[in-house]
Structure formats: structure tokens, C-alpha cells
Amino acid sequence: MTAAQAGVTARGIRRSFGPVHAVQGIDLDVPLGQVTALVGPNGAGKTTAMLVLATLLVPDAGEVRVAGFDPITQAGEVRARMGWAPDVFGMYDTLTCREYLETMAAAYRIPTGQRTDRARHLLELARLPDKAEQPVHSLSRGQKQRLGLVRALVHDPAVLLLDEPASGLDPRSRVELRDLLRRLAGEGRAVLVSSHILSDLEEVADRVVFVDGGRTVGQHAIGDMPQARTARTYRLRGLDPAALQAELEKRGVGWATAGHAGIDVQVLGGEESAARLLAELVAADVRVTAFAPVGGSLEATYLDLVEGQR
């Protein structure tokens, strides 16, 4: 990958806070025009890595480029091209949404004449145009989250760093966030998203970077993720639940009821065994209406990685 295509490249980021080794070797590539997911358990070093990329924290070691510049020695250049939305952030509650965005536009040195237009455009992007003159504290949590996201877009950055942008969003807003991220990547931006909501990430991300214990444990394109090695849960539904249960028991497949949602079974041996089980059930005349993995492949791979570490 050449520098021109790379929104972010990071090699061997290390950072300790006293005795706590928050990051001990994170490698990261965020190409332009793609959404890259940063996935890992709490305390894996995601936020610390983001702070380094966002020109806020000097790493103990490591080679980092954001939009082609070094965030440590060329912070100003990076800031002009990078937008960052932290996981936990405050807002100036008593400002109106328009004032808030206009203030941020001023902080990014956008000329006075363009700030009003910019704020209006961003409010539309956040689906908050009717809230322009409302104080920020009157917004719901999800609305604030969206306002915080478009704040990071005030200066039309080429690189976007979003730390847990989906937390606090209702399902509809999550779908919208997904569409927005796709659109931003489609405009040629490099988007890095960290999240715990893996099913969402799976649908939006082009690439995924797994981190655990402060290290990068894998970088994959979403299409060629390694198959899960451990058992995976599948959820089944049949027209006659009793017949389905009986057939499963006959085969010695452990099951558990998931209430009205159906029956959960543990399938070992990847998609091959799952396909075989389904074929057998159908052959035995069980009328199956649903047979699907619970959680996406991202989640499975993630759990696999995390289990593998322990």
C-alpha cells in the first residue's frame, strides 16, 4: 500500500501509562475509500491507539502516519485532515446545535462566511435540521451522538477516526450510521471505527483489525476472514418444534430453547458441519423454517481470537 492510498498506517505503536502497558504493538492500516473496523475487548488498547492517531498522545514507540503526516511532529497538518469522535465526549450543553457546529468550524479556521452553510449541511447530515436552534442539552443521547459524529466532519477530513460511534444509538440510528459510514467511505475517506456491536461492523466494514491485550492479532479483509475453529451457535425454527427437538436428540445434538426465537444448537466444525446438519434434518422430513448462525462471522472470529488468547 502506498502512502497516497493509505489514510492511516501505524507500525508497532507502544504506550504505557506507568505500570499499565495499554498498547504493546498495534499495527494498523486504514486505506482511503474503505471502512476499517477496530475490534477487541475492553482494555485491548483501542482507545489509546485512537488517541495516538488523533494527535493527542505521544506513543512510547512506533511509526505512525495519518493522511501522510506524522501526528507527533506534524500535528497541525494531521488535524487539518483528520476528524475524531471520541467514545465519551461532552458537549457545550447551553449552545444551540447551530452555534456548536459554527464554533467548531471557527476552531477549524473555516472562513466566517462559510460557517453557517457548513453547519446547516452537517445538521442535515445528522438528520437534525429542525434542531438547529435548540440547545444541545435538549437532544436525546442518540441525537447527541450524531451531532458529535458530524462535528468530526466539520472540516471535511480525509481521515475519520470514530471511537464507539454506535454506543447509545437505537437500531434505526445504527442503520443510518452504517449508511453514513458507507457514504463517507464512498467519498474516498479513510474511516476507522471501533465498536463492540460486531454485527453492525460486519455489515459496514471492508476490513477488520483485531486487537487484544494491546496487540494487533490479525488484519483481514472482511471477505476472507479465517473460519471459526470453535463451536458456533445456530438458531433453528421448525413448523413443529417438538419434531425438531426429537430429531436433534436422535442425532445427539445438544440444544437449548431460545423461547419464541427458536432453538439454539452448538455446531462444531464450521459451516461444513452446519450444512450437513441442515441437510440431514431436511432429509428426515423436519420442516425447517429458519437455520442461521447467531451473530455474524466477525463475532465468531472475534470470540475465536479472544478464546485463543486465553
Binding site: G76, F89, L95, M104, R109
Partner: protein, 341 residues
């Protein structure tokens, strides 16, 4: 410069909308109006201000007391305006989003300083009608009023700068607020107590002669001329000593000599004269009774305020520097318990 104004405007807006400022400023004005009224009725007594003609000079007497009260109360209000500025933003998680913009650390620091100082100046500005009243009572020059206000404004700015620096150094807002008040306490009461105690322990022995009692004897003489600098940074000393001289009147004595005398009782002037006096070194000199070791009559030391204000301005400059350094990103060090975002 634009960046400074962006931050200052933001902070100012937040301040105005956050609290009950109208009530606070209103209460502040009423308290000081009451003080001015009391001072006027106290000064307007015959035993204090001789004859009727002199009543037109009441203003100088009123102004001195009122401004000392204004300074005292403003020193109580000002630390609150800046002492939670940076760590409060950190707690609310609004600082980092400002730091990743194109604003420099200096712009954020100076913008915050400007906003808190501006708020302090609003409180000071509200007292201007009282100064006008004093002026109308007579005995005051516009220059004296302007000088006193300028120095008061500077002193409040200095307190803002120190408080702001404390808010960058300490993670907890309560700790920084307490330390800001302790700093003001150290500057006001601390300097006075230190000066008093150190002066009491720095005394020189001298042999003087008194012909009336017939002979020489030893005395110990306090030497405030060696310790005056301890008192110099006191804001009240700076204010009193830096005030442009009050108008004087020239009195012709029966023997044809003329002397200059302040137009009325003037507390700032008295404090200033006292400060000049303690700077003067005692020395041996002959009087009609013998040889004394004292400050000869009519001898005074120089003004105290240039050093005092200088020390305060240096403190403020250091505080601003600390603030800028502490706001600089990317950062290497995090204070314990400090979150970056």
C-alpha cells in the same frame, strides 16, 4: 488572534448561559452601593472633614475605601471564574475535541484567560457608576480613577492567570479552586503576616544618645527597610501605592511658607505614604536632643508598587506559560487520574 477570540467567545457564551449572572452582578452592585453609602455618611462628619468648603472633597475619601472593598470582593470572586476552566472541561470531556482542532495550545489558553478576565472586568465595570459618584463629590482627578481601575483590572487578570494555571495542573476541580483561593490568601494575608513576622525578627541594635537623660543607651530598631519587599506583592499595597496622587491644596502658613496637603482623608494616600516610609532606612542623625537612630523626618523611600506589580506580572506570565505547556498536544505525560478525552 482569531483563534483566541473563538475560544473566548465560546467560553463567554457558556458562562453567561450557565449561571444566574444577572442576579449575581445585581447583588454585587447593591452590596457595593451599600458600602459606598455607608462610607459617604461616615466620611461626611464634621470631625472628619473640617469645614463646609471641604465637603466638596469627600470623593477622595469615599473612593479610597470603596476601591479597597471592590478589590477585596473581586479577589473573592475572581478565582472562581478560572480555577475550574481546564480541568472542568476535561471532566466534561470537551477539552480534547477542542485540542484536535486547528486551535493551538496558546490560543486555547489565552482565549480561556480572556474569557475569565473579561468576566471579572464585567464585575469591575459595574462599579464605575460608584466611581462617578465619588468623582462628583469632589477631590478626585480622572487620572486617579483611571489609574486605580487600570491596576485593579491588572490584578484581577493576574489572579485569573494563576487560577487558570492551577486548573491545568490539578485533575480535580475542587482542589484547584481551593488552591486558587489559598494563593489569593497568600498574596493578601500571607504577605502581610510574613512581612510582620520577618520584620519583627530582623532588628538592629543601635547606640543612641539623649542629652536630656544624660547619656548613651542601646536600642533595638526594627528594619522594615530590609523586609519591605515581602509586603510589596500584596494587591492592596500595589493598588494604594500605584494610585496617581490625589489632588492637593496649597496652604500658606502665617510665616509665609507654603505646604501641600491632601484635600481630604484619603486611605489610599495614607497607605501609600506608610509604604514609602517603611522603605526608608533609619540612620544616625543629630537632633536637638542628641543622636538618634531613626528615619529622619521628611525622608521616605521610593514607591513599593513597581516591584509588587512586577512580581505579580511575573507570576502571571509564568502561569500563562504553564497553562500553554499543559494544554499542548500530543502529550507525553498524563497526570494521575487524568483522562485525555
Amino acid at each position: 488572534m482569531n483563534g483566541i477570540l473563538t475560544v473566548a467567545r465560546l467560553e463567554f457564551r457558556l458562562r453567561i448561559r450557565a449561571g444566574r449572572w444577572r442576579w449575581l452582578v445585581g447583588a454585587w452592585f447593591l452590596v457595593l452601593l451599600g458600602v459606598t453609602l455607608l462610607v459617604r455618611s461616615a466620611a461626611d462628619q464634621e470631625n472628619l472633614v473640617g469645614d463646609l468648603e471641604e465637603q466638596r472633597t469627600l470623593g477622595a475619601a469615599m473612593f479610597g475605601v470603596v476601591m479597597l472593598v471592590v478589590l477585596a470582593l473581586a479577589l473573592l470572586v475572581t478565582p472562581a471564574l478560572a480555577a475550574q476552566s481546564v480541568n472542568g472541561d476535561r471532566e466534561r470531556g470537551t477539552l480534547a475535541t477542542l485540542q484536535v482542532t486547528r486551535l493551538s495550545a496558546a490560543e486555547i489558553a489565552l482565549g480561556k484567560l480572556l474569557a475569565s478576565w473579561g468576566t471579572a472586568l464585567v464585575f469591575l465595570g459595574v462599579t464605575l457608576p460608584l466611581a462617578l459618584w465619588c468623582y462628583l463629590e469632589g477631590g478626585l482627578s480622572v487620572l486617579r480613577i483611571a489609574g486605580v481601575y487600570l491596576v485593579t483590572a491588572l490584578l484581577l487578570g493576574i489572579v485569573c492567570a494563576i487560577s487558570l494555571a492551577l486548573s491545568t495542573l490539578l485533575a480535580r476541580t475542587t482542589t484547584s479552586a481551593v488552591l486558587a483561593y489559598l494563593t489569593v490568601f497568600a498574596l493578601t494575608v500571607g504577605t502581610l503576616v510574613t512581612f510582620g513576622l520577618v520584620t519583627a525578627s530582623v532588628q538592629t541594635e543601635a547606640t543612641v544618645r539623649n542629652d536630656g537623660y544624660g547619656g548613651s543607651y542601646e536600642i533595638t530598631v526594627p528594619r522594615p527597610d530590609k523586609t519591605w519587599f515581602l509586603l510589596a506583592p500584596n494587591p492592596f499595597a500595589v493598588l494604594a501605592d500605584s494610585a496617581p496622587a490625589a489632588p492637593v491644596r496649597t496652604i500658606e502658613l502665617p510665616n509665609g511658607d507654603t505646604i501641600e496637603e491632601p484635600l481630604s482623608v484619603d486611605v489610599l494616600g495614607s497607605m501609600s505614604r506608610e509604604l514609602h516610609r517603611i522603605r526608608a532606612a533609619p540612620r544616625y542623625h543629630d537632633t536637638e536632643y542628641g543622636t538618634q537612630f531613626a528615619v529622619p523626618d521628611g525622608v521616605t523611600g521610593g514607591p513599593v508598587w513597581p516591584l509588587g506589580l512586577g512580581v505579580n506580572l511575573l507570576l502571571a506570565a509564568g502561569a500563562i506559560w504553564v497553562t500553554i505547556v499543559r494544554l499542548r498536544t500530543p502529550t507525553r505525560k498524563l497526570a494521575r487520574g487524568q483522562r485525555i478525552a
